[in-house]
C-alpha cells in the first residue's frame, strides 16, 4: 500500500492507494508556519483506522524547499566559480560569499589553464569568518571534466559537509543555470535535511519503516537518499503532481492532448504529445532563477473559478486577481463560478445571491442577465483556448537541429482536452464550443493530486558523452568518468547508457518490470583530425520513462478492503 501526501499552498491532501486502488483520502488545511506539523496531523487522521504495517512506500510532495527559496529562508552559501573566458554573466543573486577562481576548461573538457591553489586558503578563511553554512562549486564545462570541481571540494571537505558540485546536478551544458541550480541546492540542503530527519523520527515513532520517496517537478519521484544529495530536485513538484493525477484519472491514450487543472485562482495547462507530457526545454525557473531542474512543462494563467469580474469601459474583464470566493459561496464579488451557477451548470450554496450579483452586473453593462452570464462563460473559455494556441504556436516552433526534424518533424495538434477542477464539468460545454475538440472530465477530481503523488514512479535521466579521440566516456549525473578504447561506438554507448539508467532506477527501488528505460537522444559524429583515422564524438541521453507505478482504478469503491 502506498501512502502519499501532496502539500499545496493552501491544502494538504493525503491518500492510501493499494495496487492502483484508492483506499482512503483525507484533506487538511496547511499551516504555513508549521509545515511539518501540517503533514503530521494529516497523516494521523489518515492512518487512525488503518494497518500501518501494510504501507510499502511513502510518497511525499513537499513545498519545504520551494517555500524556503521563495521566502529567502535559506542557508548562507559560499559560492566558488571558475568561469574562464566567455560571457560576463551577472552573479548578483548568488549572495555575498562569492569567489572567482582563475583557470578554465574548454568545451572538449581539456583543462586550458589550472586554477591557483593558493587562492583557496584565503577563500576558506573568508567563508569561515562569514559563517558560511554550505558550499556550491561550479566550473564552466564541468560535465565534460569534473576534476577541477572535485579538487576544490577536497580542499573544503574537512570544514563543510554540505558541498554541491555543479556537474553532479545535470549533464546538460548551461553554465549560468548550473551555477543557479548548485547555489539553490546548497541553499536548501540544510532545510531539507532537517525536514527529512523530523519526518523519519516521527515515522519511526509510529513504527512506519517504509522507504520514503519525494515528488519531483518532472512528475516522477526520487528516493530520500538521493533527494538529500539533490534537494533542489524537489522544488515546484505541485504542478507535476497535478499532471500525474490528471493522467491517472484518465485512461492512457497515445495522442496529442491538452490537460487543464482549473482551480480557484489559476488554471494550469499541460500539453501531451503522443500521450507524453512536454518538458521544460532546459529546466524550470524559480525565484527569477533559471535552473537545470527537469520539469513537466506547465503554464499557469490567472483565470480560475473565483477570478474577479468587473466592467471596464463597457467590457467584461475576468481576473487575474481573486478577491475571495464566489458570491454563490458567500463571497462579495462576482466570479465565473456565479455565472455557471446562474446558468444551472453548477450548484452553489447561495444561488439567489449569485443571480442577484449577475443581474446587477448585467444592468451595469445594459445587458440581458442570461446573455451576460453566457458571455462570461464564453469569454472565460476563449481566454483559456487563446493561451493554449499561444503555447502550441511556441512549442511547435522550438528549435530543431537536423534536416529530418525540420522537414518531417511532427507538429503537436491536440485531439482532446481533459479537464479537472471545480468548474470542470460546468465548463466542458463552453470549452467544446470554443475549441471543437472532445472535452472530458473525471469524477472525484479532488483526489487527483494526491493520487498523482501516490502513483508517480521514480524517474531519472542521464547524459552520456564519449570521445574516442580523447578516449573518455562520462555520465555526469552518476559521476561516471571512464576511459574507452578507440573502437568504441554508438551502439555500445546506447547499451551502456541504458544499463546505467536501469541501475540508477533499481537503486531507487524500481523492480525489473517497472524500469522501462529508453534512449531519448542519440548521435554519433565523425571527428576528422588531419589525415589519421576517424574518431567519434557520441552523445546519448537515456531515461526511466516517467509514468505511473500502477494504473489507477477509479471505478472501484473507496475503502474496499482487498489484500495486495
Amino acid at each position: 500500500m502506498i501512502l502519499a501526501i501532496d502539500m499545496g499552498g493552501t491544502h494538504i491532501d493525503s491518500v492510501l492507494v493499494r495496487q492502483g486502488e484508492l483506499v482512503k483520502f483525507v484533506k487538511h488545511e496547511v499551516q504555513r508556519n508549521d509545515l511539518f506539523g501540517s503533514i503530521w496531523h494529516c497523516l494521523q487522521d489518515l492512518l487512525q483506522d488503518q494497518d500501518k504495517n501494510e504501507i510499502s512506500r511513502i510518497h511525499l510532495s513537499t513545498t519545504v524547499c520551494t517555500n524556503a527559496i521563495v521566502e529567502g529562508k535559506v542557508s548562507k552559501v559560499g559560492v566558488i566559480l571558475q568561469s574562464g573566458p566567455g560571457i560576463n554573466w551577472d552573479f548578483g543573486n548568488l549572495g555575498d560569499n562569492l569567489h572567482f577562481l582563475s583557470g578554465s576548461t574548454d568545451h572538449r573538457g581539456v583543462v586550458a589553464e589550472d586554477f591557483d591553489p593558493d587562492d583557496l586558503e584565503a577563500i576558506k578563511k573568508s567563508f569561515q569568518q562569514n559563517a558560511v553554512e554550505s558550499l556550491a562549486i561550479i566550473s564552466k564545462f564541468s560535465p565534460r571534466n569534473p576534476e577541477t570541481e572535485k579538487e576544490i571540494m577536497s580542499f573544503f571537505a574537512d570544514a563543510y559537509s554540505e558541498i554541491t558540485l555543479g556537474h553532479s546536478l545535470s549533464g546538460k551544458l548551461n553554465y549560468p543555470r548550473r551555477m543557479q541550480t548548485a547555489y539553490l541546492n546548497a541553499a536548501v540542503a540544510n532545510t531539507f535535511r532537517t525536514f527529512a530527519r523530523n519526518m523519519l523520527t516521527a515515522l519511526k515513532q509510529e513504527n512506519i519503516t517504509a522507504p520514503i520517496y519525494i515528488l519531483k517537478a518532472d512528475g516522477g519521484t526520487v528516493d530520500l537518499g538521493s533527494a538529500l544529495k539533490r534537494p533542489v530536485e524537489t522544488i515546484l513538484s505541485g504542478p507535476a503532481a497535478s499532471y500525474t493525477g490528471i493522467s491517472a484519472l484518465f485512461p492512457a491514450e497515445n495522442e496529442d492532448a491538452v490537460l487543464l487543472d482549473i482551480g480557484g485562482t489559476t488554471t494550469d495547462i499541460f500539453i501531451l504529445a503522443d500521450g507524453i507530457p512536454l518538458f521544460e526545454p532546459v529546466g524550470i525557473e524559480i525565484d527569477h532563477r533559471k535552473t537545470l531542474v527537469r520539469a513537466v512543462y506547465s503554464v499557469s494563467i490567472g483565470l480560475g473559478g473565483d477570478s474577479y469580474i468587473r466592467a471596464d469601459e463597457g467590457e467584461i474583464r475576468i481576473g487575474p486577481e481573486r478577491r475571495g470566493p464566489a458570491v454563490a459561496y458567500g463571497g462579495e464579488v462576482l466570479t465565473p463560478t456565479d455565472a455557471l451557477v446562474y446558468l444551472g451548470l453548477m450548484s452553489g450554496k447561495y444561488p439567489q445571491k449569485a443571480e442577484m450579483a449577475i443581474a446587477s452586473f448585467a444592468s451595469e453593462l445594459n445587458m440581458d442577465t442570461e446573455a451576460c452570464a453566457a458571455q462570461i462563460v464564453t469569454q472565460f473559455s476563449e481566454s483559456i483556448l487563446r493561451k493554449i494556441d499561444d503555447i502550441l504556436e511556441r512549442v511547435n516552433k522550438n528549435p530543431v537541429y537536423t534536416i529530418k526534424e525540420l522537414l518531417h518533424g511532427q507538429q503537436i495538434t491536440p485531439r482532446s482536452i481533459k479537464v479537472i477542477g471545480g468548474p470542470a464539468q460546468a465548463l466542458a460545454g463552453a470549452l467544446y464550443e470554443a475549441s471543437g475538440l472532445e472535452v472530458t472530465f473525471p469524477k472525484n477530481y479532488e483526489i487527483a493530486n494526491a493520487v498523482g503523488a501516490a502513483l508517480a514512479k521514480p524517474t531519472t535521466e542521464i547524459s552520456l558523452y564519449a570521445n574516442t579521440e580523447r578516449r573518455i566516456l562520462s555520465i555526469p549525473e552518476l559521476d561516471i568518468y571512464e576511459s574507452i578504447d578507440r573502437s568504441f561506438n554508438q551502439a555500445e554507448a546506447e547499451n551502456i547508457a541504458l544499463r546505467a539508467v536501469e541501475r540508477a532506477g533499481a537503486a531507487m527501488g524500481l523492480s525489473a518490470d517497472q524500469l522501462d528505460s529508453e534512449i531519448t537522444e542519440s548521435s554519433s559524429f565523425n571527428m576528422v583530425r588531419g589525415f589519421m583515422g576517424r574518431e567519434r564524438n557520441i552523445r546519448v541521453r537515456a531515461q526511466i520513462r516517467p509514468g505511473l507505478l500502477y494504473d489507477f482504478q477509479p471505478t472501484r469503491e473507496r475503502g474496499k478492503d482487498e489484500s495486495e
Binding site: P85, N174, T402, I403, R534
Partner: protein, 435 residues
Amino acid sequence: MKANNSLGLIFFPAFDWAISPAHPEREERLLYTQDQLFEEGVEDIEGINFFNPSVARPADVQRVHFAYPDVDSIVSESHYIAAGGVMRALDAVMSKETDKAFAMVRPPGHHAQRVTYGDRGFCIINIEAVGLEYIRQKHPDLRVAIIDTDCHHGDGTQDIYWNDPDTLFISFHQDGRTLYPGTGDMSELGGPGAYGYNLNIPLPPNTGDEGFLHVLDNVVLPVLDDYKPDLIINSAGQDNHYTDPLTNMNFSAQGYALLNEKLNPDVAVLEGGYSIEGALPYVNLGIVLAMAGLDYSAVREPDYHEAKWRQSQRVTRQVEEISRQVLKNWENRKKLAEEEFRGLRKVTLPRQVYYDTAGIMETQRQEFTICGDCPGVNVIHSVNDRGASLIGVQIPRQACPSCQREGYRLFEEAAKAGVKRRFLQDRSNDQYFAS
C-alpha cells in the same frame, strides 16, 4: 541579462548532413559551437531568440541562378534550408520581429555564381543572394551592402551583383595569388551598370586584428557612410582565424567581435571557417554578443596570445597601401567608369570558372549592354568540359522598358544558338523561363 539589440539566431547545424564523411563540410562542423553557445547560456539571454530556418523553393533559387540542367537536379535539401535560413533572417529583420539576425547555417554559398553546374568551394547556391532577392520581392527598393569577411574571395557574390548599383559588394580576403579561388583583385570593380560598386580588398597572408580593423575603419566604414545602405549583410566567414587549417591569417575571436560591433550589420550569415574546435565556438560567440550589443570582452580562445599573432610592420604597410588604393577607387568611381566605358555600347567579359569540389571547368562569355536609363540587360554564354552548354539572359530589377523587350528578344534568339539549355531571368517582373 538582456540584449541591447534583439537578435534572432537561425542556428541550424544540419547534424544529419555532410558533403562526404571526411569533408570539412560535415555533421560535426557546428557541434562545438552548439556546445559553447549552450554552455554559455546564450539561449537564456533575454532578447536573443532561436528561430528555425525557412526552406527555400526552386523559384527562390531561379531568381539568382542559371542552374544546369535545373534547380532540383543539383540542389539538395541542405542547400534549400541554408538559403531558407538567410530568408528567415531577412524576414525577421525586415518585419521588425527582431533588430538583427545571424544565420548560423551550413553549407555556405558565397562561391556560387550566377551559372551553377554544381559544387564550388563547398557552395552550390549563393545563400545570401537567394535570401536577398527573396526579400527584395517584398521590399523592392532596398539598397544593400554585402560585406564579405570570409578569408576566401566572395567570387560568387561578386559575379551575382557585378552589374547591380543597388547592391554594394565589399570583400576582404587573403590575396588571391596565395589562396583559392584566385580572384578578388582590386581592379575587379564591376560591370558598366555598377562600376565601382564591387570593392575587393586583397590582404597579405598573416594579416592580424590590427590589419582587419584598419581596413574596416579606413575603407569599409567611410564607403558605407557614403553609400548609405538600407541594409548591411555580413558574409561572416570565420576562416581568417589564426587556427584555420585552410588559410594563413591571424584574426582572433576578439577581432571578429570588434569588427562586428563596428560594422553593425543587420544580418550576418555564416560562410566558411573550418577550425571547428579552435575557432568557431569562440568566433560565433563573439559575433553573437557583438550583434546583441553585449559585452564580449571576456570571449577569448583558450590558446590565444596576442603577441604571437600580431602582424608584422611589413604587413601593416601593405594593408595601409591597399586600403588607400581601394578608397581612392571608390571616390573616383564615376571618373573611372567614364574612362573605362567611353563610347562603348556593350562590354564583353570572357572568364573561366573552376568548380573545385565538383571538378568541372567552365568557360564563359558575359555580355553587358550599356543603357543610359538602367543597368542594362546582360547575357551569359557558358559551356563546360562535361559537354554542357547554356545561354542565360538577365533583365535586371531596375530594367527600363526597352531593356525588358530586349531581354525577351535575346532569349528567343538564343533558341537558334544550339545550346542545351537557355534561361531568362526577368527580375523586373519576377518571372523565370527555361527551356
